[in-house]
Amino acid sequence: MILKTAKFGEVEVNEEFTFNFIEPILGYEKLSKFALVDHMPDSPFKWLQSMEDESIALPITVPSFFDIDYEFVLTENDAKKLDAKGAEDILTLNIVNIPNGQPEKATINLLGPIVININNKNAMQIVLVNSNYSVRHKLFNEDLKKFDIEEIKKEETETSEG
């Protein structure tokens, strides 16, 4: 199906990757339908694009792509709400925050993961209890300084010029 979005124009959405939030993404209580939209080929990021408000799209990723050890126990209550029978039903995604113009300061929300029952597409954002995980865990180390970005930008310019 074709979905109209503010950030990407019209995108083709695979209905298999559309989710029904039975409990909201906090702050977006009125939105329940989201689709997983590609960022670009090979990307570790995807987008959770609202199907009800074209302006809302949140970048998401998986902690293991960034070598972050991550695990939590889904409470029985939440598993019941999602109608999940076991861990094999559950896909977890984490929302990423990238301050404008400062990708090196990107953070990932490990305390409030999105959990999805991939069989029935029910989804919810949960808040982990008694957890030391952070809402804003850094994706990149401090040692990755501006230098690296400038280098990359330079390379990109050179490539595009060449």
Partner: protein, 99 residues
């Protein structure tokens, strides 16, 4: 909203199975103990607010080009994969296949 006054050591019982006890008061801080069944979730309000704020910022502040730059940063890290292409899709599909 029900408003009531309790003294140190006094309790509230909610719904037969949740017990709230005032453990200590010091200045404007109150130490509270909660005994509840495992399936009852108890959160500090500010955790919710923090996540809400973070979610809204995530969509509002994000610039598609910055996400692309973040990918470049990741690929500059030692041990980074060349492609994450559809690692996610694969995760989804592997899980589905077990069905």
């Amino acid at each position: 909203m029900l408003v009531l006054t309790r003294k140190k050591g006094e309790k509230l019982i909610i719904n037969d199975n949740i017990e709230v006890v005032i453990l200590e008061t010091r200045g404007d801080a109150v130490k509270i103990g909660v005994k509840a069944p495992r399936n009852v979730s108890i959160y500090r309000e500010e955790v919710y607010e923090e996540i809400k704020k973070s979610n809204v910022q995530s969509s509002k502040n994000v610039n598609v080009n910055d996400v692309t730059s973040a990918i470049d940063l990741l690929s500059a890290k030692p041990g980074a994969k060349k492609s994450y292409s559809d690692a996610l899709q694969q995760m989804i599909q592997t899980k589905k296949r077990k069905d």
